[in-house]
């Protein structure tokens, strides 16, 4: 017998679902956010949907200094996805504080600021600079960066290095700003990295970053991207991302998860919520549909309502629960 009850006919038309979500304890109006690197600093998406209607704009990763990014070509289209090698082009923290963050604050949008660096102290300095900045909801720590002090090994691939960054950021960051560590799927055991970050003081975990990939042009017989390898994103990576969210939520059920990786529809987002994500980021889908975050919010609300959930929060991790365990409106139990 299925636990999924047929929704009462009257509720099909206008399901009313409480979509309030939480980013590490900070309430937000929607569980749908943009994804770092896929929405610049938000302003370009303003014509397409109301930036204040989503949970937050997750900024492109900012570093201490302005960065040019890599030489072109920076992009290769792949089946249900793309490979990118941008190289974190951006204005640096001074530019962000002078231009982009004030614009978002004036607009009434909230920012989850992605910070990146190549030394632990870079991350800490960025977190210090962002203390008390208006409109900054929290920090997402992009640890998928090469660590200068470890011959370029990516922080996120080493639980100790990842924890070092998180601990340094948490120590100096504004206590009102939750700190999310963004994990890489290119590891043997993502749960151990997740646990190390949580132990080091991460308020939550963002997962996943892109997977490292390669495309070779059959005509030139050379790699397409100027940076040779690039990060694979889009619906092609969704099952990998969902698996990571599932595994980490199972091991660390109390750690908030911001889920991302190929989310294109409300039903995609629902899968991440059911696997344990309390909120989701919409990334590459924005390139296909610039209004995707608002659309996915509406589709997710509809999907939750159709499945009998009165609140988003009741659905978080639902797929892990035993079929006879009560959840949400289903607490009445299958009849």
């Amino acid at each position: 017998m299925s636990i999924e009850p047929a929704p009462p006919a009257g509720e099909l038309a206008a399901p009313s679902v409480d979509m309030q979500a939480s980013i590490g304890g900070v309430p937000v109006v929607s569980p749908v956010l943009t994804a770092s690197g896929c929405s610049a600093f938000g302003a370009e998406l303003d014509p397409f949907f109301d930036l204040t209607s989503i949970g937050a704009v997750v900024t492109k990763s900012v570093q201490l200094r302005p960065r040019s990014g890599r030489a072109t070509p920076r992009m290769a289209e792949t089946p249900s996805g793309m490979l990118n090698s941008i190289g974190l082009q951006g204005p640096g923290i001074d530019g962000l504080l002078a231009e982009e963050l004030p614009w978002l604050a004036r607009r009434g949008a909230r920012a989850l600021v992605s910070i990146a660096g190549t030394r632990v102290e870079h991350f800490a300095e960025l977190a210090t600079r962002l203390r008390g900045v208006p409109g900054v909801l929290g920090l997402e720590v992009n640890i998928s960066c090469p660590n200068v002090e470890s011959r370029g090994e990516v922080f996120a691939c080493d639980p100790v290095a990842a924890a070092d960054v998180v601990a340094a950021v948490r120590e100096v960051a504004d206590p009102a700003q939750p700190v999310y560590a963004k994990l890489s799927p290119d590891v043997t055991d993502i749960v151990s990295v997740a646990a190390a970050c949580a132990d080091a003081g991460a308020t939550g975990l963002s997962m996943i970053n892109t997977l490292l990939g390669l495309v070779i042009d059959p005509d030139t017989m050379r790699p397409v991207l100027g940076g040779v390898t690039g990060g694979l994103s889009g619906p092609a990576i969704r099952p990998v991302a969902l698996r990571c969210v599932w595994q980490v939520h199972q091991a660390l059920p109390d750690v908030p998860i911001l889920g991302m990786g190929g989310i294109r529809s409300g039903l995609d987002a629902l899968q991440f919520v059911l696997a344990g994500a309390g909120a989701v980021s919409v990334g590459t889908a924005v390139f296909n549909d610039p209004s995707a975050p608002a659309r996915i919010h509406a589709e997710l609300a509809q999907a939750l309502g159709e499945r009998g959930f009165g609140r988003l929060t009741d659905a978080i991790g639902y797929a892990h629960r035993r079929p006879d365990q009560p959840a949400g409106r289903l607490s009445r139990g299958p009849q």
Partner: protein, 303 residues
């Protein structure tokens, strides 16, 4: 370190002011294919999109989602606006890859998801300035609206339209009706004069006070050099590979000299596609020149 390097230093400051952004904001919607005709090797589509048609200015483009809502081909295809007519936005599609082939195959009545108008339009010259328009392949389509606007404002308009062969020419009738002299060139001599557009440009540029060009990068570079040599401003509409078309993906960048003389990686979609040709460092495309703003932060490990 921050001084502009390369050509700009050799020939002095750019002759073109930075191109200002459009005054309109883009919209997204489903548009019905309301017009369709083959044009040589291309297909011209007219999309019913009154909001975009009303706001569009010459030089701007639209970005199409391809393959329908569940398509595995996610990235938008950006195509220059070839003109507007009766609430329709016209584009000329060159079927090359999977996306453009899908788009070119759309029939009357089909609906496609389109975003526009996008990008910065061609700036108008001072009153009375005679203009020379140079189109390469389907790039000529992007100049038709500009030619009409220049004529309406009282400018003399000359034009050159070139392509590899006759079937790759575009908008010949439209440009021919709006410009004089009008010269057609083909590499193989199958239409007009045999040879490249640059030869005709060399003859016509003496009578021009401004040059506008749209076409392949090599042609844009050559025409831009000709404008610099003639001492007149030249504007180019570039065709870079774009993933989003709206400024969020950062894939379509070119090294461009800004108002402060410093070179940055500028997004072709929102800071272009129209640039002053003498501000684009064509020779450095595909490289990371050391004097690009932020290049000094790119070295992660000592060599």
């Amino acid at each position: 370190m921050t001084d502009p390097q390369g050509r700009s230093r050799d020939v002095g400051p750019p002759l073109t002011p930075p191109v200002p952004p459009a005054t309109s904001t883009p919209v997204q919607g489903l548009a019905e294919v309301a017009f369709r005709r083959p044009v040589g090797a291309y297909v011209e589509l007219g999309l019913h999109a009154p909001d975009i048609a009303r706001a569009a200015e010459p030089g701007q483009f639209v970005a199409f989602a391809v393959g329908g809502p569940t398509s595995a081909t996610l990235l938008r295809r950006s195509i220059a606006i070839a003109g507007v007519d009766a609430g329709r936005v016209h584009v000329v599609v060159s079927a090359k890859g999977v996306g453009s082939t899908w788009l070119a195959a759309q029939q009357l009545g089909a609906e496609v998801d389109v975003v526009g108008p996008l990008g910065r339009p061609f700036p108008m010259p001072p009153p009375g300035t005679p203009a020379l328009l140079v189109g390469g392949g389907y790039g000529a389509a992007a100049l038709v609206g500009l030619a009409a606007r220049l004529r309406a404002a009282g400018h003399d308009v000359a034009a050159v339209s070139g392509a590899a062969s006759a079937d790759r020419l575009c908008s010949v009738d439209e440009l021919g009706g709006l410009s004089a002299p009008f010269v057609v060139t083909t590499d193989d001599g199958s239409a007009g004069r045999r040879g490249w557009v640059t030869q005709a440009v060399g003859e016509l540029i003496r009578g021009a006070g401004v040059v506008y060009a749209c076409g392949p990068m090599g042609m844009l570079r050559a025409v831009s050099d000709q404008a610099v040599a003639a001492g007149i401003p030249g504007y180019v509409a570039v065709e870079e590979s774009m993933a989003c078309g709206i400024g969020v993906c950062m894939t379509c960048v070119l090294p461009v000299i800004g108002a402060d003389g410093r070179t940055r990686f500028a997004r072709s979609c929102v800071e272009g596609p129209v640039f002053g040709g003498d501000r684009v460092r064509f020779a450095d495309v595909g490289t990371l020149p050391a004097d690009v703003v932020g290049a000094d932060a790119m070295g992660v490990l000592p060599a």
